[in-house]
């Protein structure tokens, strides 16, 4: 979680560093929309800790935490975000379209549309007789998409080894869940498809870890899909540059930050010393700085390369 937070914090700085004085979303070393995952680390870490070689993830437009937790190479990912030839996708995908076939990691900028793809990956795993699983990630706003419901139905019908993860960060861009969703718990929606749905409150990484473990074990054992909703926190804006004037919960955001809270709990219980904490932070810092340096020093793609890779 520290590693992810350090990454997002540095991307945040780098993203904004060269967009002044007149803020231009397309300017700078990191151009384009940027959706950072600070505050949502527990969902990614608690889930991905159970994954092994061959397990797949489809992530949405806010993918960095799941990518890093799933073992996507930080340097290649950063180079992609910087739009360099050494990036995961040679600069063609960008931060919402990270693909790492070695780790079976992909994301899509169209919310909920990674869910059907995840079902297909799970179908392939099942057909091949492996005990691999697929994790499909989406936000609570995405759960009103047809793709969400079609996927739950397919997965239940075909008993696919997929775990649907809903990150409920309370806000679908600017719309709170109460204004968008007749059914307030996506764990309940799972019931409509006859699959178990669990909701973890309070962004609690240990609770996510345990529930995800049970869900993933179940999928591996051939007992079928399940849904895990994590009540998490969007620490920052929907995208960078979002003034969040609509947000009514800003004053409690800092106190709900899962990182200091978990660090305090671990320190209090004697599981983590200040020295260990510093060591973890230093390692994360070094890794992130190296990734950024790698990206900055990598070549910019030639314009004519835009014509490559339409077809295999």
């Amino acid at each position: 979680m520290v590693r992810i937070r350090q990454y997002e914090s540095r991307i945040l700085q780098e993203y904004h560093a060269d967009k002044t004085p007149a803020w231009d979303i397309g300017a700078g070393l990191i151009p384009g929309e940027m959706h950072l995952s600070a505050g949502q680390e527990p969902a990614a870490v608690g889930v991905c800790a159970h994954l092994r070689q061959g397990d797949a993830i489809t992530a949405p437009h806010r993918p960095h935490h799941f990518a890093l937790a799933h073992g996507v190479d930080m340097q290649a990912m950063t180079a992609e975000i910087y739009g360099r030839t050494t990036g995961l996708c040679k600069g063609k995908g960008g931060h919402m379209h990270l693909f790492d076939p070695d780790n079976h990691f992909s994301c899509s900028g169209i919310i909920a549309q990674g869910y059907p793809v995840a079902c297909g990956q799970a179908l392939a795993m099942k057909r091949r007789g492996t005990d691999n699983v697929t994790i499909a990630v989406a936000g609570e706003g995405a759960a009103n998409q047809g793709a969400f419901h079609e996927s739950l139905n397919l997965a239940a019908l075909w008993n696919l080894p997929v775990v649907f993860v809903i990150e409920d960060n309370d806000w679908a861009i600017s719309v709170p869940r109460a204004d968008s969703t007749a059914n307030t718990s996506n764990a309940d929606r799972a019931a409509g498809y006859g699959i178990p749905g669990v909701r973890v409150e309070n962004n609690d990484v240990e609770a996510v870890y345990e529930a995800a473990g049970a869900a993933i074990d179940r999928a591996r054992a051939g007992e079928g899909p399940s849904l895990l909703e994590v009540h998490t926190l969007r620490l920052w804006g929907h995208f960078e540059g979002d003034a969040q004037a609509y947000r009514t919960d800003l004053e409690t955001v800092d106190e709900r930050d899962p990182l200091p809270r978990y660090a305090a709990a671990l320190t209090a219980s004697g599981d983590l010393t200040e020295a260990q904490m510093a060591e973890i932070a230093a390692a994360a810092n070094a890794e992130v700085e190296a990734a950024i340096q790698f990206a900055v020093n990598s070549p910019i793609p030639a314009p004519e390369d835009a014509l490559l890779h339409v077809f295999a």
Binding site: G93, V117, G146, E150, S151, L154
Partner: protein
């Protein structure tokens, strides 16, 4: 045609498609079929006839009416290395699943910088002529061909249907395979005799991206595709008696497009008629005309003629529908107009 084959073996386009899929499934365990009513029913337009009996429900999977779900699942399976053949029952249903088709199936390879392949076939029934009206009669191949990242093949006869299907399944790219209902050779629909023809029993391929000169001629080139190829050949035979020599180019693939065959034919005849059952504006007919215009407009003795659906939804009443479809009569008139 080799002499070892029974010359009397004539099959429909639908059967040719199913046969190709079956042969690929026998050869490669990663090939499987998904779609609505592809199982025991055998596909509403016969494209999976008898496959269910041979391969069972594990490899010929009936899906819920859930196009986003199962097309997305096809993509996911393809990403993991399987070779799904997915049927979208009517191409008109693209509206409920276009995000999976365009934003995912067609873009993943490019977005990933070539790292991820999507070896998938998405087949769909196209075309009208039997009063199924505006939501079940469209061709829409121009729409798919317009969007980058997917190959688009459009067979017009049983032989090409089998060979293009084999190529599509073996291709490492997503291939949209659009078959015309009126060219399937279905017993329950008016059909052209060209929808039943000799097809070799063994597996073979027709390369994607190569047009065919379906009939040679010297006066006029008709560039066309799908069922309109059959109509154009009928017209060409008829006009031969009237002293007009028509060359018919069957595009067979829209993506990639065989520009060379088109240009060679037009260079020979100097007259170009494009016949397309899809909507006229911003589509295949305009694209073919543009290729000629961009290459050498002086090869044309007369301006390009286009016969396509005149930018209206497909109407229901037979009189209305045939009022806008590219019929033999209209093709014939257009050819005569060009040589006059």
């Amino acid at each position: 045609m080799t002499t070892t084959e029974t010359p009397t073996r004539r099959i429909t386009t639908a059967k040719a498609m199913a046969e190709a899929i079956g042969l690929e499934m026998q050869a490669d365990p990663d090939v499987f079929v998904m779609g609505e009513d592809v199982g025991a029913y055998g596909g509403i337009f016969g494209s999976t006839t008898d496959l269910f009996a041979e391969f069972g429900p594990e490899r010929v999977m009936d899906t819920p009416i859930s196009e986003t779900g199962f097309i997305g699942a096809g993509i996911g399976a393809a990403v993991e290395g399987l070779r799904p053949v997915v049927e979208l029952m009517f191409v008109d249903f693209y509206g409920v699943c276009m995000d999976q088709i365009s934003n995912h199936m067609a873009k993943i390879h490019y977005e990933s910088g070539g790292a991820v392949k999507v070896p998938m076939v998405l087949m769909a029934a196209t075309g009208g002529g039997y009063s199924d009206a505006a939501q079940h009669s469209q061709c829409l191949w121009g729409t798919f061909a317009h969007l980058p990242g997917m190959k688009v093949v459009v067979p017009s006869n049983p032989y090409d249907a089998k060979g293009l299907m084999a190529s599509a399944i073996r291709d490492d790219n997503p291939v949209i395979y659009l078959f015309h209902k009126g060219a399937q050779g279905l017993v329950w629909m008016e059909k052209n005799q060209r929808s039943i023809a000799h097809v070799p029993e063994e597996a073979f391929t027709v390369p994607i991206g190569e047009a065919a000169v379906a009939r040679e001629g010297t006066d006029v080139t008709i560039v066309t595709l799908s069922l309109s190829v059959q109509h154009s050949l009928d017209v060409a035979e008829q006009l031969e008696g009237e002293g007009i020599s028509v060359e018919v180019v069957d595009l067979r693939s829209l993506v990639p497009l065989d520009r060379q065959t088109v240009l060679e034919s037009v260079a020979k005849t100097g007259r170009l008629l494009v016949v397309d059952e899809d909507y006229k504006s911003f589509g295949v007919s305009g694209e073919i005309a543009a290729i000629v215009a961009e290459t050498d407009p002086t090869m044309l003795k007369k301006p390009v003629s286009r016969l396509a659906v005149p930018d209206v939804p497909i109407p229901y009443a037979r009189s209305l529908e045939y009022g806008i479809l590219p019929t033999r009569e209209k093709i014939s008139a257009a050819v005569k107009d060009l040589v006059s």
